[in-house]
Symmetry: none
Subunit: 538 residues, 2 copies
């Protein structure tokens, strides 16, 4: 049997922007679009060009991507022609492959929100779709409030879908805008839509999670006949979020109920990238990943000690609904980690670090890493700090220089002109080759001042770090309160194109930053001597 | 039509205990059982008496509750009689109204995990149920791996269910132990079980969230005929969690697809307690509540879209799938640069802030908020800072005190014993009632030191802030590099149960923290004078 193709439509950059607390910059949008394109979703909806400065700037960017790039916007206003509607003009002229029009399909909203007649709304749908096609773009129509509208006035909701389809829209997307529709209702209503003559091949589903069933609603719609699924990374979105693509995609690819009948643009092999995709997205948003997220969460394949854990060791397949590797995740048995040591040795070899024959130094390294990770260090995200630690424990790392003390000061007071001013200053004492050097610098905040002071005079090494540059600085509070433990991650680069991450942890943010800054400088000096591993060569 | 009764079975204290990071004390269990009983679930499963000291102690407590109190444990071992099995004896003698036996129903697990014959396993089920009934207790049987077992060997899975039913078990619970079963499969398999003669009135469903569909699986089973639903508060549980009762219950009570046919022990009026129940449970676990949780999350009825917000003001019912009050939650129209003027006015009114007739002060406030959000302030997450800003712009806020200057110092050096030590100190000068006060404090890091110094002596206001406590501190770097702009969000609470968030933004993390700390103290003083809005009254 030929499998039917399910098209994946990502709206992280558009509907995901409605998430409370989420506010993408243009740089965020560029980075997220790249992640999505590399993962091979079919459509990336970028935003609403013309509606706000960020989206307008993002649509102004040049792009080369294989996913279809979609601009979102309203159908033309009633009472003006398509060619005279400035909103529609902005969409048609935008650098996009497709336009997704949002159209009212509940007569109540046509009257109250648009203030036009039902007939005028149908004409707007038709004219907007035709304008997009005339401009050489693919047209999609999001039928807003479709399910609620269908319950109130089925004939009118169907008329809206039909108008979109008849005008040539590639996709008519049925939206559960308020998120309260139940899977059984989705099934029934999709069947009725298809029965009126709109082919499932032209239908999409857009679900929200207000009853905790956005994933189930999307999959129920697929089983009822729709062939496009809209959703977001990690289920972000307004209120309770949109349908979570990071849950839906593995189910479509791995579960017999779906993969025996359907296929997506994502191969079984490519699916292994989904845990990384999910975590990279959270990293960009600087949010802690949800440990219990289906498929991709750190705890998704974790078992506490007990009956399950020992049976799991005998035959994982009977205690795991899918193999964790299939989604790029891993099993976590929260007793002693059997495969731990082998993983470690493989990781060290990958970095070109030889493991000494006598085992105790390796054991000491493993227990130190476990201890530090329990304190909050995250070596998965800080390759350079891990490599330095491993080299120190297994072999030796030269002590290029030593910081004997430092002092940071932040002072806020009125200056001579009566203006409030905050000044940050750092003083560092460094010992290089037996000689003590003292440097002072002012900066934007205490960490910046400390960074500048640290790199001001390293004596004979100073010329070696001229091209060292800090490119990113991330802070995460690991528990509540202002007495919280803080983790700092710093990304550095140099003129040779190397990039590396270092980490510091402390209940003092300055101390944590200092550790990460020091690791970065030492790693750079090692790298200059060809002593650093693959991480710097990326 | 008489409605059919759906019985709610809570396993927070038993299966919820498998959640990574969750470890209940006896006191926790007593408090949670009380919350559940007051909310009127039908069954509270308390744990596994005899398996660990906490559960044994918890079952030793005297209790008066209306919910049936359930002990969980294994069926008797093969090869011994029911009266000679010490595990079974502990269950039968426990202070419980009912016993829930976990029984294997997948032949593979009978062989590998139990190491007995299929026939012996059936005998264990029968004998265990009979022993519970003989002791005057209600018997339930959790058929472990029922759905996977049914796919592998339907006859044997059905034989296990039948053995439980024939022996007199009140409930035969079909468990999706590995969590990978799809709703369409649940529907089909439940229908087949009922077709063999086990009445739906005796069937329950126990689902896990490994594909993000535990809620949908539970509700699909109800539609297919089962009459008991097992789940946990806020969906805690092993791996991705159990079916979330705080999502399922509102759907059963409010959604026509269910409430027209079914009823639970929870009335429409009692349902309004569910948001409080959910948050009280998180409070007990000392976790931040999930803002996007269906029905009960702080963002479940939040909107930041301008178009939606203005229509929402006209007629909430058409933009909300249920009224927020029905679940004890509330509408939240978020102030952000995505929203329009209508958002602002609605939000100000809700906080009891009158908007002056002449419009220019409101316009000035809106443009200030937009400007500040462009700089990185996030008022949607910082209600108290927004309220202070609005009151300052629209009316006046008394200047309780003024910080004329502060200084923070972080010093790292070797102490007298040659140990590296980092010390953080802050000095604050405050003007209260014309009198200058100077305070100094040491802390864990500069922010903690500043917080302590700021709250050390506020003169005549000092007694008012004794119960002010910082409970969370979040840092977000808004762009790259150590010169980055930093946003700090601080959550505070007081003894009256108020909770509020404040925000600060600066290229200096100390400055950003100072702004948020100041807003928190001023908000608290306003709140003490009944000048702060609803946010503090929660």
């Amino acid at each position: 049997m030929t499998k039917q193709r399910i098209h994946l439509f990502d709206t992280t950059l558009r509907d995901g922007q409605q998430t409370p607390g989420v506010d993408f910059s243009v740089e965020d949008k560029i980075a997220i679009a790249k992640l999505l394109d590399e993962f091979r979703v079919d459509y990336v909806e970028g935003g609403y060009p013309g509606a706000n400065p960020t989206d307008t700037a993002f649509f102004g960017e040049q792009r080369t991507q294989s996913a279809k790039f979609v601009a979102f916007g309203m159908t033309k206003r009633a009472g003006v022609s398509a060619s005279n509607d400035p909103g529609l003009a902005a969409l048609v002229q935008s650098k996009s492959d497709a336009i997704c029009f949002v159209a009212k399909s509940w007569d109540y909203h046509v009257r109250v929100a648009l203030g036009c007649t039902n007939e005028e709304n149908l004409e707007s749908i038709t004219a907007s779709v035709e304008a997009a096609i005339a401009a050489g773009k693919e047209a999609l129509v999001d039928c807003e409030h479709f399910f609620d509208g269908f319950k109130a006035n089925p004939d009118y909701a169907l008329a809206c879908a039909k108008a979109a389809c008849d005008a040539g829209a590639r996709w008519v997307v049925l939206c559960d805008t308020n998120g309260g529709t139940q899977p059984s209702e989705v099934r029934d209503i999709v069947a009725k839509v298809i029965a009126t003559g709109i082919p499932g091949e032209n239908l999409g589903i857009h679900a929200h999670d207000d009853t905790g069933q956005a994933v189930a609603n999307s999959l129920a719609a697929v089983q009822a006949g729709v062939r496009q699924v809209q959703g977001t990374l990690n289920g972000i979105g307004e209120r309770c979020g949109n349908a979570n693509l990071t849950s839906i995609i593995p189910t479509l690819v791995l579960k017999p109920a779906f993969c025996e009948r359907f296929e997506t643009g994502i191969s079984v092999e490519a699916l292994a990238g989904i845990s990384r995709l999910s975590r990279a997205f959270d990293e960009l948003l600087n949010r802690a990943p949800e440990p219990q997220a289906p498929y991709v969460g750190m705890s998704a394949f974790a078992t506490k000690a007990g009956i399950h854990a020992s049976a799991l060791a005998k035959d994982p397949a009977t205690y795991e609904h899918v193999p964790p590797e299939a989604v790029g995740n891993r099993r976590k048995v929260m007793v002693s980690d059997q495969g731990g040591k082998a993983n470690f040795v493989a990781e060290l070899k990958r970095r070109g670090i030889e493991v000494p024959r006598e085992g105790h130094r390796l054991d000491a390294l493993i227990s130190l890493v476990k201890e530090r990770e329990a304190e909050g260090y995250a070596y998965e995200g800080a390759d350079a700090s891990f490599e330095l630690l491993a080299r120190k424990m297994l072999h030796t790392v030269p002590e290029f220089f030593r910081v004997t003390s430092f002092r940071c000061m932040v002072e806020r007071r009125f200056d001579a002109n009566g203006q409030l001013k905050t000044v940050s200053e750092a003083i560092v004492k460094v010992l290089v080759d037996g000689e003590e050097k003292m440097s002072v610098a002012e900066g934007h905040g205490p960490v910046n001042a400390l960074d500048l002071a640290l790199r001001k005079d390293l004596g004979k090494f100073q010329h070696e770090i001229g091209d060292l540059e800090l490119v990113d600085y991330k802070v995460r509070i690991l528990n509540g309160g202002t007495e919280a433990v803080t983790r700092v991650l710093i990304e550095s680069r140099d003129a040779a194109g190397g990039r590396w991450w270092t980490v510091g942890v402390s209940d003092n943010i300055i101390d944590a930053s200092f550790q990460a800054l020091m690791d970065s400088i030492v790693f750079k000096l090692m790298k200059n001597r060809d002593m650093a591993g693959l991480v710097a060569a990326e």
